[in-house]
């Protein structure tokens, strides 16, 4: 891949707090890149900071959240340096975000069609016929009957609303799409069909994707690269296949074993002991150490772990030894 990446997060720190004195660090030094057309998955428990990170990447972070350090570069331009108007123009047209639980993101008192139209008008597509034609085309792609354009949101089922929102997020052909748990609130069957639809759309339209979820097994199938977040940091990042075969970080391994594959001999499941740390009172050393079964006393709980990477596989752990990457 040549040229500047689509999205580049450089040492991003994000905090929450209403006044400058008491800011809770939620994202602590994250580096992440997304190349054009690439699918990058971000996985972690609730509260690890992945949604906050995505909001910041989309330029949507509002007080009490604040980016306290680092750069967020979209096609080389720093979002933090942009004016509100510049950010507004990027939204939906260049970067769009599908929120978690999109059941309620549509305005209940306006018809779906109108919500497409005003989004497009805000970005220069003022000709109503053209706008409706594009909306219709998008509805076809997400396999929604066109007549639902004239309906009110409450007349659509949850799955339909999700698809309508995805259609809306793609109608202006953005270059980057952030998906925050797009299928978690839906049942498995609907989940599958939406995932399939997203894959097809991506191959047709070629946008880059940041896919956020806690379901690692899903990512392994659809992502090119995966980043694992814990307590506001990326603790492991690797091409999807590497992660599946050779996860380097104890936390990743724990996440992987939470989703046993079908058709394999039954194995005793072990939950991960403990709770994610209180971000206001982080322990010294590795943030995962209190819950890590392999933690080394004296090292893991005292010194911040180093990052080591080889062949695009980066792990932040004291115990990691970069191995030869498996073939494939």
């Amino acid at each position: 891949m040549s040229g500047s990446p689509l999205l580049a997060l450089e040492d991003v720190h994000i905090g929450y707090g209403w006044d400058a004195r008491s800011v809770t660090p939620v994202v602590r030094g994250v580096d992440l890149t997304v190349a054009a057309g690439e699918v990058v998955g971000v996985a972690g428990e609730s509260g690890c900071g992945k949604t906050t990170l995505a909001m910041a990447a989309a330029g949507l972070l509002d007080p009490p959240g604040r980016v306290t350090a680092g750069r967020i570069l979209f096609e080389g331009a720093d979002l933090r340096a942009m004016s509100p108007e510049q950010l507004r123009r990027l939204r939906l047209a260049e970067i769009s975000m599908v929120f978690q639980a999109s059941m309620n993101v549509l305005n209940p008192v306006t018809r779906v069609r109108k919500q497409f139209l005003d989004a497009m008008a805000a970005h220069g597509v003022r000709n109503e016929d053209e706008a409706i034609a594009r909306a219709r085309e998008m509805f076809d792609r997400v396999r929604l009957p066109q007549r639902f354009l004239d309906a009110f949101p409450h007349q659509l089922s949850g799955g339909m609303r999700q698809r309508a929102v995805i259609a809306l997020c793609l109608v202006l052909r953005p270059k980057l799409v952030l998906l925050d748990e797009p299928t978690t609130a839906l049942d498995v069957v609907v989940q599958r069909s939406i995932m399939q639809m997203l894959s097809e759309l991506r191959s047709e339209l070629g946008f880059g994707v940041v896919f956020i979820t806690h379901d690692l097994s899903l990512l392994v199938e659809v992502a090119d690269r995966i980043a694992i977040m814990y307590a506001g940091q990326v603790v492991e990042e690797a091409p999807a296949k590497h992660l599946y075969g050779a996860a380097g970080h104890p936390y990743t391994r724990a996440l992987m074993s939470a989703f046993p594959p079908l058709g394999v001999a039954r194995v005793r499941m072990e939950g991960l002991p403990g709770q994610p740390p209180d971000l206001r009172r982080l322990p010294p050393g590795c943030a995962f150490a209190p819950r890590c079964l392999q933690a080394v006393e004296g090292t893991c709980d005292a010194v911040a772990p180093p990052a080591s990477s080889s062949e695009g596989h980066r792990v932040v752990c004291h115990l990691y030894e970069p191995k030869e990457a498996p073939v494939g």
Binding site: A58, S96, N104, N107, F152
Partner: protein, 327 residues
């Protein structure tokens, strides 16, 4: 549809309740109502006049209570309110017709102004939550809502009418004619201060409700998504936030009516404005029961109508009611 039917039924039921309260109250008090009226007005009214009034109220002594009730309902629904005791032989309906237009003008104007202004200010305050504007609006709204309306009226009339002479002191108009230009001008100048005071009194409630509703709407998902779509701030504020926030405001409008009615009573009293609220006061102090009852009913009817309009408006505004469930 079911919503509409339910609301209409409720309003009809309330109307019936008001009628029955009117009927029942005088009979619940010790002593017969006729005796009370007789005691107060003997010497001022002939016995036959008293009898005629009693008749209109369905109070004929010897009749069974249900028959009285029936007569009463019949008379009321045909507008036969009988004669006013204090203004005998003027009919109650005449007095009502005389005073009602003044009140309608006053209240109509003041409520519209208060609603429009209050909702707008409330929305702006919510949109700029935490700003200087907001921190002024919230306590002001609370104070206005806590302010006794009669007190504002008296202060206003004292300072602005009496001391500064900017507005006339009392009454509805100083000119004999109501339709000439001078007459209209006089009407307006007499109405100006009461209308403004009434508007100010009602303003606080609308402002606060709109602000709080908008604040809670703004944290709703669809507002966040509207911003995520890159819509301009104004579009988000108006078409997404405010539009949804007006829904609870309209439902609260019905409750706000209570404040408006109370405010009107005080304002008309202080300004000696010739409306029906003032008439009610006169009726109560002179124990003119027929007049009192009729005015009460008229006020209730007006409130019911306003409620009905607000309910219909709600149906228009909220497609979830209008256009039912799943397609």
């Amino acid at each position: 549809m079911r919503y509409i039917i339910r609301r209409v039924l409720l309003l009809l039921l309330t109307g019936w309740a008001a009628l029955t309260i009117n009927f029942a109250l005088p009979r619940l008090m010790p002593g017969s109502p006729i005796q009370v009226m007789a005691a107060k007005y003997t010497g001022r009214l002939t016995p036959s006049a008293l009898a005629a009034i009693a008749q209109a109220l369905g109070l004929k002594n010897k009749q069974n209570v249900f028959v009285q009730y029936w007569t009463y309902l019949g008379h009321t629904l045909t507008g036969n309110f009988g004669y006013s005791l204090s203004e005998y032989p003027t009919k109650v309906s005449t007095l009502l017709a005389q005073n009602l237009p003044w009140t309608l003008g006053l209240v109509g104007f003041a409520t519209v102004v208060a609603f429009v202004l209050g909702t707008f200010i409330g929305a702006v305050a919510a949109w700029r939550r935490g700003s200087l504007f907001d921190s002024i609006v919230v306590p002001t709204g609370m104070m206005l809502a806590a302010m006794p309306s009669f007190w504002i009226s008296t202060m206003a009339i004292y300072f602005l009418s009496y001391k500064l002479g900017w507005f006339p002191l009392f009454g509805g108009s100083s000119s004999g004619s109501l339709t000439s230009v001078a007459g209209l001008g006089s009407i307006l100048s007499h109405a100006a201060l009461p209308a403004m005071v009434l508007a100010v009194i009602s303003l606080g409630g609308f402002m606060l409700v709109m602000r709080n509703t908008t604040v809670s709407v703004m944290s709703d998902d669809y507002v966040k998504f509207a911003r995520a779509k890159g819509l301009r701030n104004f579009t988000v504020a108006s078409r997404y936030a405010a539009r949804n926030a007006t829904l609870p405001v309209v439902t609260n409008f019905a409750l706000a009516l209570g404040t408006v009615v109370a405010g009107t009573i005080f304002v008309e009293y202080v300004f000696s404005y010739p409306g029906i609220a003032n008439l009610l006061y006169i009726a109560v102090t002179s124990e003119d029961y027929p007049l009192m009852q009729a005015i009460f009913l008229v006020i209730v009817l007006a409130v019911l109508l306003a409620n009905f309009v607000a309910d219909m408006l709600y149906v228009v505004l909220d497609p979830r009611i209008r256009v039912g469930g799943r397609a």
